[in-house]
Assembly symmetry: C2
Homo-oligomer: 394 residues x 2
């Protein structure tokens, strides 16, 4: 191949398109098809459960002084983002520039990248995207702030930048208090940046099993936020908003008085790992499992074992094996590339060709394995939503 630059990339995309097109049944479903006929393994969305989850979030937040900005890294699907926006979300969160590009391309006009963006190529795309939509991004490093300012100046835009503060997750972020104040000053001092507030997400709190552990973690996070906003206030730096929270804790942030915006993502799908959290007395509603990997029994060699045609390439196991839905006496105990190994109560009738639904251990990386979300209602395919940002890691 002798093409270069953009022409080469277009050629490569087209090659891939033609190559895939040649594989006749690459889309596992057609609209109107009974679920029983949908090819496996595929990613199924129960639309009724999904819509009830949207309702439950809204109801749980009625009267609470926070805005909702759902995290799109969970679904990577503009069709879902648009439904969240239609219910009053102020925008979406993304984790990468390319994910944000897919959302803007899909009709979303307000995106917060809840992450640091590093490197000239990405910063150029980020600044370009800020001409097409309201874009904000996080920073936790002084040199990165300078690079953001330069990229914004080169593109002729003003970029909104939030200071990411470590409120307990020990991932990215400057420490609360003085270090955060210094970073905010640097951002505010840049001619082509606007200091847009604090990113204060406590990721590791989300899967603490006990309600009281999660509540305590968020109380501590809120204290760290207040320490920082107090300093900003005394320094005369306006803090437009504090944003954070996930499905495991969002109601605690919502009532803390310290947060203005919350970022839950998984509530729409409710994976098996979130299902292991205790919720009693948390006030957070009982979200339903709406996302499933649809799988076929492909082997039943002995009574105590069955194999399904979904494995590591159809679901992620970083947060444990998937759970088998709606069927007692069957447990997914291990997985290889294209096999899920089920331990079966020997008396259960389960034969080659039977189909079943697996609840993914972790929804986000599972969604990222699939190109299409097969949307089902009353046992039939109602829609097929492209997972437009699948693989958008840049």
């Amino acid at each position: 191949m002798t093409l270069t630059g953009r022409a080469y990339r277009v050629e490569l995309r087209f090659f891939r398109f033609v190559n895939r097109q040649a594989m006749a049944v690459y889309t596992p479903a057609e609209i109107g098809m009974p679920l029983a006929e949908v090819d496996t393994p595929s990613l199924i969305l129960d639309l009724d459960a999904f819509e009830r989850n949207l309702d439950l979030l809204d109801a749980s937040l009625a009267g609470k002084p926070v805005k909702v900005r759902p995290h799109a890294k969970s679904h990577k699907c503009p069709e879902i983002a648009l439904r969240q926006l239609a219910r009053g979300a102020v925008g979406v969160c993304c984790q990468k520039v390319s994910e944000a590009e897919a959302m803007v391309q899909g009709g979303v006009s307000d995106v917060l990248i809840t992450n640091e963006v590093v490197g000239a190529a990405k910063l150029k795309r980020l600044a370009a995207l800020a001409k097409r939509a309201r874009i904000a991004v996080c920073a936790d490093d002084a040199d990165n702030v300078i690079a953001l300012d330069q990229a914004a100046r080169a593109a002729g835009v003003t970029l909104s930048v939030l200071a990411e503060v470590n409120v307990g997750a020990n991932r990215c972020g400057v420490e609360p208090g003085e270090p955060a104040l210094q970073l905010a000053r640097r951002i505010a001092a840049c001619g082509h940046l606007r200091f847009a507030g604090l990113q204060a997400y406590h990721g590791s709190a989300q899967h603490l099993r006990k309600v009281e552990e999660r509540r305590a973690a968020i109380e501590q996070a809120a204290a760290r936020v207040r320490l920082t906003t107090g300093l900003l206030d005394r320094a005369g730096i306006a803090c437009e908003k504090v944003t954070g929270a996930g499905t495991g804790t969002y109601l605690f942030e919502a009532v803390s008085g310290a947060y203005d915006e919350i970022q839950p993502g998984s509530y729409i799908f409710m994976d098996a790992d979130y299902g292991r959290n205790d919720w009693t007395g948390s006030g957070i509603p009982g979200f339903e499992h709406s996302l499933f990997v649809w799988a076929t029994v492909m082997s039943r060699p002995v009574p105590e074992r069955a194999l399904v045609d979904a494995g590591l390439k159809a679901f992620s196991v970083d947060s444990g094996m998937p759970r088998v839905a709606d069927l007692e006496g069957v447990e997914c105990v291990r997985a290889s590339d294209e096999h899920g190994v089920l331990r079966v109560n020997g008396t259960l009738r389960l034969v080659v060709g039977d189909r079943l639904k697996l609840i993914p251990g972790h929804c986000d990386p599972t969604v990222n394995l699939h190109d299409d979300l097969v949307c089902v209602r009353a046992g039939r395919v109602e829609a097929i939503w492209p997972i437009a940002a699948r693989g958008a890691v840049w």
Copy 2:
């Protein structure tokens, strides 16, 4: 959308193509680009190491009475398959019909699907593919054999079917001996099927850490094969070939006298989990790590911690965290969707913007996360090979 059937699928593909095209820098590299400029996270192939691995396999098998049929589930890339065939491989293995379709589309003319294929839609595609290339498939269930025969008859082809035998992995497969003989009889009795031999892969042996454990497991597998081929022989059923083996054990199968064909896949890449095997005295050569996830340091909040922009959506963690290549004093200790958390020796100079290579824990599901393999030689991008069967789980 009101289109249906194939027209709808074409529309959906085209929508996805246009949608992706709109994301300007979706291809992380250009030919001729220095590695340092390749966007992250991306999947890098060190071509020199890859080619040495191809050589090492060949050299280790010189004079051994087996043919090589590498497993394409590891790479999903016709460009690699064609290079394996050019060095004398008799064909490739695939795990799914859609993976086989991608290989045939990419120029491979002989594919063994080392797996059961279940369901009318898939069997129809399997039979259609058998008109375009030499295709063989496995079975371990009597009813599935009947379904295979019907699909072959409907398409007007004769399908080659191997009986999968459980030689110790306890995944799919009938038990050795009498059950395998019965299954072979059923296959041989079908008018549109040809009994093509035994699939005898011992998957769980591949990652036993000690050489002697792996050798003993394969001796047991070979004994189970011989029990079965002895019965077939006495029953007058010709067993054309016995096929199996992976990177961890292939030389033991090769010298066992029980196997005719071997199926190593990971030897071309050599992931971190295979790197934890002991190889001393096995005769299996020291394959090099040739596959890397190229990542950027995006945050260095405290001396003992750095974050890279590659997480669960850039590498699979089912076999453990990736290892950091070529750098002492840094360890990847956990991962979230888009973050890899590195524990750093505090004195190491590692700043935001630095790039590093991660050796994936498990190559197969890591490859399946990426659309392109960025092929590098002497620090420059020499080629970009599409991972054509990425996501081909059907």
